[in-house]
Symmetry: C2
């Protein structure tokens, strides 16, 4: 019987869930894995959680050092969020040769390299299954997979809030009402900025790139476009063309360059990602031996996230070997998004004057932009401005931007242009 | 550095793939996991494979006992298929305290209980990730998951041959031509009987029930209906109603009874399983904490299967603990399919005589069968027999069977009836 002592720092929703599930499953883990996991100490700034969870006083502290420096603790569970104190805690834990389990994608996105170096130097592991796709065992599946496989790309619906909003919008509800509904259902935070603007997804792309490619990106260099500018009209038009609009985190290796980005994307209705609705997440990973693999499930929520953390604790406890051996990073530079070739969905607002559409298409022609489809619906509009949708063939974004700039200069189009990449895959 | 010696028995397509991938990834596994895996001995009935793979003579044998009884071997990889010699090999390996890795779902379906008992008695593990959904790490995900979760049900597209054929049929190609095309593409065996009639899926349902519920079913007691009787017409009608037809392996716990079955199924186009096309597999697992989780990927093929086996070898090697500790089986009896309540798609062939459809619906009424929809297309037909499709509300199959039998006795319907359950989920 192996004995493992854990300390939980942060007893919010997730921390409380971990406390409960660990205690619930303790005897099963003991029976089946011969591992006895004890929660030696919990830490929180307030005693309210201690009382609520009926944690004995001797097992509680307000000073995280009582956990990170304790000789008794084998695994530190960091669940306070943020990147300052959480970083201090994680560093201390690893330096003191304790394994670390965390759900903190922002921390990993910003400090992943340092933490991984520390873990290797101290021969301990970092478990972070819960940081991406809460209820989907994607991180550990990837870790197992890269031993037998080279991963070449991934596409992920990584933010439940955005996916829930886009699902409502595809039913005709507008953005702001969808957001309010998401907040009511508990799928969006009071301040949903980081979700809506794609930053949360960019954090997760960074963590996935660390896992898939052993690459530490600067999260701020990842092209990141949120869902704020999508309208129900775009979703409707896309649908009629056979597409769904999803906020995707994308990464792929193209000729020793890494293409990594976050943006709303038109994907074919036939794609396995297209049926991922509501608050669900999914990650599609391509690799040379296994081919495409997709995991689908809840991306967040108390029970899925807490369960993933407990599974990580068991994994870290039962593994004979530290799995965070840092290998040299591959030499891959980040490809600028404007140099990536893609098909695009372009929405422009043109003045409803006969001949204007012809002028627009002739500008596109001047830039050698091939058009797949043009859609112009006569939407009654006081401003006499109508949305025109253009589906392009494959080209570099910078060319499209130049054409758009020419149209603006020619006063053909008004404010409200929108560019969404189109991805054909699987 | 931990040293692990493996012996491969069976050097067919999969065995050769395992030999190659293990050698390719050896140094990576060594670097990252501190495990040195050596292929000590390979066994095959013919020397052709030895020559092809350039295996030194001293590392080759035609007698599997040289592997199962060797003091040098830690893990035996059984890849000969079938249930006779493969069973003898597996038994010997486990008795001699060797871990076993296998892709043999028929063996596990028929002899799983005995093998798991032996592995527990001898404190060794059985790795069988490759036996279900080759390229999908579903078995190990479930094993991790049941530590923190109670699984309540699963739905799986588990046979790539059938899914490929159904995909072609949904494009209007008939069954026999689709089968020929599947054989040409290498997605169907020369003798595809076990795929087409659902037996292969039933084997996998049995293996999944062992993994999810710790339950050893008699595979012959699982209701199993193949895809032979599906026509392109059924798929087209289903599509117009918002459904896809997929061959599913289904299992769920209902009030201390286990509902386990294999049959073509109408599933909503909105379901995450609906977009699983061509030779792909997918398994949707429901559990109390993680919620629904789905894994999607290749179900078979040399590289995915061989990769899954190599991943299993690493998992078995790196785990400090044997994970096949046999717990007492739960007391769950198998629910008879005819007693399971479900909606049904019913296709009957009625004689094209005015009034016959009325007689049919009045028989359904007599049995208190509520109808959701009736579809009768006038298909010109020399025999003056037309297919009528009836979508029922939820009822027990035995009631529907009685109604059908009454229709037959009344000579209202001809041969060619078909019943397909309809599943509403996710």
């Amino acid at each position: 019987m192996k004995k493992v002592n854990v300390g939980i720092i942060g007893l919010g929703t997730i921390g409380s869930g971990v406390y409960k599930i660990l205690n619930q499953r303790k005897s099963k883990i003991k029976k089946e894995y011969h591992i006895e996991i004890d929660i030696k100490k919990c830490c929180d700034i307030s005693e309210a959680s201690r009382k609520r969870l009926k944690i004995p006083k001797k097992n509680f502290t307000k000073d995280y050092n009582d956990i990170t420096s304790s000789n008794e603790i084998d695994i530190v569970i960091e669940l306070i969020g943020g990147t300052n104190v959480a970083y201090a805690i994680s560093k201390e834990a690893l330096k003191n040769k304790k394994n670390l389990v965390t759900a903190n994608k922002a921390l990993l996105a910003h400090k992943g390299r340092e933490l991984r170096k520390l873990s290797t130097a101290n021969d301990v592991s970092i478990g972070y299954e819960a940081s991406v796709g809460g209820g989907i065992p994607i991180i550990n599946s990837i870790k197992d997979s890269i031993l037998v496989n080279n991963i070449t790309s991934f596409w992920g619906i990584l933010n439940g809030t955005c996916n829930y909003i886009l699902t409502l919008m595809s039913e005709g509800i507008d953005f702001s009402k969808s957001l309010t509904m998401a907040q009511k259902e508990g799928f969006a935070e009071a301040d949903p900025t980081l979700d809506i603007n794609g930053k949360d997804t960019a954090h997760k792309v960074t963590v996935l790139c660390q896992t898939c490619f052993n690459l530490n990106l600067n999260v701020n260099q990842i092209y990141t476009q949120g869902i704020e500018d999508i309208s129900s009209y775009d979703i409707e038009v896309a649908k009629n063309l056979g597409y769904e609009i999803k906020l995707l985190g994308i990464s792929r290796i193209i000729n020793k360059e890494l293409d990594a980005r976050v943006h709303p994307t038109l994907i074919s209705k036939e794609s396995p990602l297209a049926n991922v609705e509501n608050e669900f997440n999914a990650i599609l990973v391509n690799s040379n031996n296994l081919g495409p693999f997709m995991g689908y499930g809840y991306g967040a929520g108390m029970l899925p996230t807490a369960s993933a953390i407990v599974a990580d604790i068991v994994r870290v406890s039962s593994s004979a070997n530290n799995q965070s051996n840092l290998q040299p990073e591959p030499k891959l530079s980040l490809k600028k998004f404007e140099n990536v070739k893609s098909k695009f969905y372009l929405r422009i607002m043109i003045k409803d004057i006969p001949g204007n559409l012809g002028k627009v298409t002739s500008i596109l022609g001047k830039y050698k932009i091939n058009i797949d489809k043009v859609i112009q619906n006569n939407i009654s509009n006081k401003l006499k401005v109508i949305p025109v949708i253009i589906l392009t063939k494959s080209l570099e974004l910078k060319v499209l931007n130049k054409a758009l700039s020419t149209m603006t200069k020619s006063k053909l189009i008004q404010r409200g242009s929108l560019i969404i990449p189109v991805e054909d895959f699987a």
